[in-house]
């Protein structure tokens, strides 16, 4: 048993972290605020070239053939640096295409030549084997996408973005996420895999948890730095227990969320019978840690935390978006309570 990342794993996520800092700094979110897509095709291609879309994909479709634990460490870095773009949907889309037998499409997605956005059902009948897709959907970062990934309790499928119908843009609370809505009426489903065969929702929840952990960590670091440097009444504010203890609670909930997310990812890789329990638990603690800590981060920063100029709100807003991916916190909680106990 070893729950600590290996040197190799840390090197991979460290490399990605450098790439994000250089190519996709948080300032890019503000620069592209009015653009249709949150990330450029050029940045997407660069990320693909670095292998970031294929960490857990098989080598024969251009991936690195690593596990969900490696991928979770990478997505934590995305959270820490608030990287925009439909990375989760595309990574899952490639996995789905490969498992559904469309190696060509999987290869295109891993190479960055096809982008997959996320569709989440708002109303209508659940997708059945073979489709077609009907109902009302929220779309996340689908504006520049070729495909949409839909993950439902029954299974998951891919749909061509061009085939779903009239996509109407909606203002999203998060300036780093593009939100839209669509009413689909019989769009054909390209790849379909039942949940019993491909537990894609759990993979998605593990990745969302990882991003939430990264957000939680980043806002904790921001708060600790501010508590050390901001001087009031002649002393750094971090000497006060009201601030110090708030920072500590953020650090503890981040640590709990990180360890549970790693535990969940390893459970998925090794096929533990309680993998669903572990991943749902990760989503619950990571979602709460990210949202609560981002909120505390704003408070610790005082007036500055309430400004658009400071990054705290960007973390808070992204945390809310991620907390809705695949199932919101209420659904995660009720699924967790219904699951068999941990082994």
């Amino acid at each position: 048993m070893d729950l600590l990342p290996s040197q190799e794993q840390l090197e991979l996520s460290g490399l990605a972290a450098e790439f994000f800092a250089e190519q996709l700094p948080i300032s890019r979110i503000r620069e592209r605020r009015a653009e249709p897509a949150a990330i450029t095709r050029a940045s997407w291609a660069a990320a693909a070239e670095l292998g970031l879309l294929g960490v857990s994909a098989a080598e024969d479709i251009g991936g690195l053939g690593l596990g969900p634990d490696d991928e979770v460490l990478l997505f934590r870095e995305m959270g820490r640096q608030l990287v925009p773009g439909p990375f989760i949907a595309s990574v899952l889309g490639a996995r789905l295409a490969a498992l559904a037998g469309d190696a060509g499409l999987a290869r295109k997605i891993v190479a960055g030549d096809a982008i997959v956005g996320l569709a989440q059902r708002r109303a209508g009948v659940e997708l059945a084997a073979g489709g077609p897709l009907t109902g009302q959907f929220d779309l996340f970062d689908a504006s520049d996408s070729d495909y949409l990934l839909l993950v439902e309790p029954s299974g998951a499928g891919l749909v061509e973005t061009a085939a779903v119908g009239d996509i109407r843009t909606v203002d999203c609370i998060d300036p780093g996420t593009r939100l839209a809505q669509v009413r689909a009426d019989g769009a054909p489903v390209a790849c379909w895999a039942p949940a019993a065969v491909v537990p894609l929702r759990l993979r998605g929840l593990a990745l969302a948890s990882a991003v939430l952990v990264g957000i939680s960590q980043a806002v904790t670091e921001l708060s600790v730095e501010h508590a050390k440097n901001r001087v009031q009444f002649g002393r750094p504010i971090g000497v006060n227990q009201a601030i110090k203890h708030a920072c500590v609670d953020m650090a503890v909930s981040t640590e709990a969320a990180l360890q549970q997310t790693l535990f969940g990812a390893i459970s998925l890789r090794s096929g533990r019978p309680d993998a669903e329990f572990q991943v749902l638990a990760a989503k619950v603690v990571a979602g709460r840690a990210a949202i609560d800590n981002a909120a505390h981060c704003i408070q610790v920063h005082g007036g500055m935390g309430y400004t658009d100029e400071h990054n705290a709100h960007l973390y808070l807003k992204r945390a809310h978006v991620l907390d809705h991916f695949f199932c919101d916190s209420r659904m995660s909680l009720s699924a967790l309570l219904a699951a068999d106990p941990a082994q």
């Binding site: 048993m1 070893d2 729950l3 600590l4 990342p5 290996s6 794993q9 634990d69 600790v224 508590a227 050390k228 002393r235 750094p236 971090g238 000497v239 227990q241 110090k244 203890h245 920072c247 500590v248 609670d249 650090a251 503890v252 640590e255 709990a256 969320a257 360890q259 549970q260 790693l262 535990f263 390893i266 459970s267 090794s270 533990r272 329990f277 572990q278 749902l280 638990a281 990760a282 619950v284 603690v285 709460r288 209420r330 909680l333 009720s334 967790l336 309570l337 106990p341 941990a342």
Partner: protein, 392 residues
């Protein structure tokens, strides 16, 4: 990264499970210290030693098994699964005094005391806190004056669990009053049968009387009982506390997961606040139960990660305070949730040693989790200063 246990570790687990099923005491543990608690606890410890299960992670030369903390974890997990009671009177010997002696004591001290702890011959208690030195432990003032080859100790200790049952005490005394308060403290092995020691029980909010205060009136303790250096006891004490806050809590963490599962069962059996449906159908209770499940899962993951860190470096660091803090918060929330599930029955006094498990006693006991072993506020100071590097 992996969560797999080796074939050898799996076999170890199987051995533990089989042995516990065959050898665990079937008689209920006495609730009071006058009612044979000492005899019961020491007999069970001796049975464990005879079966080869005492001191799993202790060095072989002192009677332990010399295995890793991972095997110790497996023991705790199986122990909790078997529903066996926590034996808190042997806790100090096995989780504070023992590890401290292993780390800091002389060969002679180790050779005498460690096997006695493992064989179930001695109970230890902790003489750290004083009426004037609680969170500010280094302000302690119990005096030890040198007289020949003895110290003569006078003063008072408080919050000493099981002092009335104990044979020995980890005793912190003030041997030098000049200089800084962290200097001049000495860690002594105190024989509790020495003349001049008076132990008085203190009743707790739970109704238990394991808590004591100890009075020392010119108690003569041989200087040979110093552990570590004279005047250098603060560092020795801090290593003890790191153990307590680190792996020492593993057993409680593992047990808390079982408590949450039992609480879910309770919520299925009990009628909820609407007077019709089971408590688990109430949305608020369901959310709190699910949150508790998620949090004890994360607590376990943190415990596992802590053990993996320990396997890489021998001395526990301040991260143990994170575990203790998180544990205390969850334990208290879970205990409070039980009261809400019980509804009107939450007013009926029950004991956490009872069968069925007494949720109201457990609720009252839970208040100790964020106070004992250093309050949650002190843990937050330690984490803030030593892990996050915040200014003091």
């Amino acid at each position: 990264m992996d969560l797999d246990f080796t074939a050898e570790q799996a076999e170890f687990r199987e051995e533990v499970r089989t042995w516990l099923a065959e050898n665990a005491p079937t008689e209920p543990r006495p609730h009071s210290w006058e009612g044979g608690m000492r005899e019961y606890d020491l007999a069970w410890q001796r049975t464990q030693w005879e079966g080869g299960w005492a001191g799993i992670a202790w060095p072989q030369e002192y009677g332990g098994r010399g295995l890793a903390t991972l095997q110790q974890l497996i023991w705790y997990e199986e122990y909790a699964k078997a529903g066996l009671p926590a034996i808190d009177s042997t806790f100090v010997g096995l989780n504070h005094a023992g590890p401290t002696l292993i780390a800091r004591a002389s060969e002679q001290q180790k050779a005498f005391h460690l096997p006695r702890i493992l064989r179930g011959e001695d109970i230890w208690c902790q003489g750290f806190s004083e009426p004037g030195a609680g969170s500010d432990l280094a302000a302690l003032s119990t005096r030890a004056e040198v007289d020949g080859d003895h110290f003569v100790v006078s003063g008072q200790k408080i919050w000493t669990s099981f002092a009335m049952l104990a044979d020995y005490q980890e005793l912190l005394v003030r041997t030098d009053r000049g200089g800084s308060k962290h200097h001049g403290i000495t860690w002594l092995i105190c024989d509790m049968r020495t003349p001049g020691i008076e132990v008085r029980p203190i009743e707790t909010i739970e109704g238990g009387a394991e808590f004591c205060e100890c009075f020392y009136d010119e108690v003569r303790i041989p200087m040979a009982n110093i552990v570590g250096e004279q005047d250098g006891g603060w560092r020795v004490a801090m290593s003890t506390l790191s153990f307590e806050r680190g792996t020492g809590y593993t057993a409680s963490q593992v047990r808390l997961a079982a408590v949450v599962e039992n609480l879910i069962e309770l919520a299925k059996e009990r009628t909820g606040p609407d007077g019709r449906r089971p408590a688990i159908a109430d949305e608020e209770i369901a959310v709190r139960l699910a949150t508790a499940r998620a949090e004890v899962a994360a607590l376990r993951a943190m415990t596992y990660a802590g053990i993996c860190r320990n396997l890489r470096s021998a001395t526990p660091g301040p991260e143990g305070s994170m575990l203790k803090l998180y544990f205390a918060e969850i334990a208290k929330r879970v205990a409070t949730l039980a009261m809400d599930i019980l509804g009107d029955d939450s007013l009926r006094a029950t004991s956490r040693w009872g069968r069925p498990f007494g949720w109201t006693g457990n609720y009252l006991y839970s208040f100790s989790t964020s106070i004992g072993g250093g309050t949650s506020e002190i843990q937050r100071n330690i984490i803030g200063d030593r892990v996050l590097g915040l200014p003091r």
